[in-house]
Amino acid sequence: MTITVKKVSLKRTASDQIYLPAILKGLVTTARHFFKNTLTKGMGDVDTIRYGEPDVNVEDYYPQRFRGVHRLMHRDDGSVRCVACMCCSTVCPARCIYIEAEDRGGDEEKAPKSFVIDELKCVVCGFCVEACPCDAIRMDTKAHMHPTETRADAVLGKLDLMKRGTQSVAHQGGVGADFRTAAPKADPRFEHDPR
């Protein structure tokens, strides 16, 4: 492929020198926008989301993948779906998830005894949701973290998080091949623990 150089002449023509034609062109452009936005239904080209206006429900404007405040999902029996695998707290770049595991009883997985997210530290990256192997943590509430009076109020515990939660539709235990045997080889870049 040959590279061609396009030469642009910077010489000013007479119509550039007297400014007026260019100015008129500009005025026509802005005037067109003005009339279109003032006089057409729905304000023409104005795409502004009417955030905060009284008769506007902000959530209608949020995209499908909007990341809101976290929630913890429930199992069929209403207990917490999380198995305290620590994936989320490991991947969290802000390191704002604190999990203490306990025995769930029987032959089952662990369960979090406490599950705390410091929403002030959270950078709303959504990695925790990506990392979770069992659809236990989600950020699909479309709710913003409310401003709080104290820092402590912004630290959400297990019950706070579960209050927003519902039953997950995912099948308990998953379907298909066992991910432990079918798992690809670990990426060497992730073997090193930065902590």
């Binding site: 500009g26 452009t29 003005f34 006089l39 239904k41 104005v46």
Partner: protein
Amino acid sequence: MHASFFATLLSVLRRGMGPWSALLLPWVLTLGACAKDPAPEQVSVRAEPGSLIFHPDTEPLPIEVVNHGKRPVPVQGFQITGNDWSSFSIVEPINGQMLVPGRPLRFSVRVDAETFRGGTLPSAVQGETRELGPDEFREGEAVLAFRVGEETHEVPLTFEDPSWVTATLLPGLLKVVLLVLGFIMPLASLLLWQERKQSAMMQDRVGPNMARISLGGLTIRLWGLLHIATDGLKMFFKEDFIPRRAHRAMYTLAPIMALVPALVVFAIVPFGDALCYERLLDVLAQADVDQCAAGRGGTPLQIAHIDVGLLFYFAIASLATWGATLAGWASYNKWAILGALRASAQMISYEVAIGLTIVGALLVYGTLEPHALVHAQLDSAWGILLQPVAFVLFFTAAIAETKRAPFDLPEGESEIVGYFIEYSGMRFGLFFLSEFIEIVFVSALVTTLFLGGWALPFEMFGASGFAAPWVAQLFFTLVGLIIGATGVAVWRASKHARFVGATMLGVGVLHVCVALFSLMTGWGSEVPHVVVVLVGMLTWGVKVFVLCWLQLLIRWTLPRFRYDQLMSLGWKGLLPLSLANIALTAIVIYALSAAGTIDPEPTDAEGEAAAAQLGATP
């Protein structure tokens, strides 16, 4: 570019109107079907002016008897009767003659003021009399009568010596209230909002729309118009900050020095022809209005009718520099003083260009007095046609005088914030307001100098009304349709604009109703004086408003100049061009007068008109 602009405009109107356009068709058809000849005129011979008013120092007043009909009629029997008939006399003896249409009979009437001097006067108290001093005059009246065919026409002659209060103070106050409180202040505050809203619309944003009042459950948002009030309130309640080392007196004086000249220059702007107090409901001829404009029986709609009007403007406008300079100097702030220096240099540079561009117009129209200048334009052609170059140069230099983008270096909000950087609250508000008042003033001056002042184009509206009833019908229909369609489009554009849109639709419908009324009655060519005055002031206001809109459009379209570019534009661009404009205008006028096509020294309005008219097509 242009084609696409109009295409967009059309599609905007189409989409905005939608089904509404179907409603227009029957109306247009009705218009076509009902169009009929105007009613034949009843009064064909008129004296113009219809009444003469004399003051003690009045020269003999000219009067014309004009035949507006189609056939010649005999006029005769001129005589003066009434109480004080002996004090008035017709200067040239006139005989009865056939009055041919288009050839008015001209003569003048003189008053002997001495007969009214001194003497005794019945006082307001019953039975008492009041002695008049040697400098006082009593009032007197007589009637000039003449016969047209069998009909007798009477022209009242009045002699009066109005006091300073009735001749100067009260009309002055009336005009100040009309102009400043009724127009400038509302428009300037509207511009505060319009600046934000219009820039938003031009940049595909929403702009201010949240200020609202709730009246019994009904929330009125008025398209964000209420932000005018909230802005004002905000300015009043902000901290009034004065820097510690500022010069307190000067610091306080500066905003006033900025605001006062901006308001005072409005004194010379004519915002209408003239107002005749006692004949508001009569149909007047131009001669009547001219008599009122001379201060007899009325007042010109211009606060100060001074012969050197435009020089007065230059004198006062130069003072506006003081506001900016003082503010910068007194603030004790390096950014402020930089802004002040820029402001003074810029304003002085562009004043030269402004002065020289106006000279071209002066050469053509031969007067410095704005009211006469507008009349000269109406007699020939608008300034924008005769002096297009001067129009562009003047508009450019005048925008530079307002210190706004693309000439906003004194403010330079991205670098030095400008000469008012230390000001807060209402002190800053005054600077802000005076900037907008200057915008209004520039628009008013351009309207006066180049856009025919208060007049509608194509001579469609004169002192007695529209040129013909069909002109009135066409005018009101078109204006009504434009306003109404815009109203509908605005209603549909945004929820918050519904009230504004509905109001505009109402105004449009009102116009169409007037057109319908005119269609049925043949009304339009003879309009009461008060309506003529209102239409004139409205026309003037609309022109000024459109120019303000244009200035905001320019301000939000063009980027800022660099300072050396600014100076070279002023001194190397506008100045030589305006000099060339003067030279060219002078040469054309000289050539035309040498060729004998125009009178070299126009002595009256007609001569000027002829000069101007010929200057248009060299």
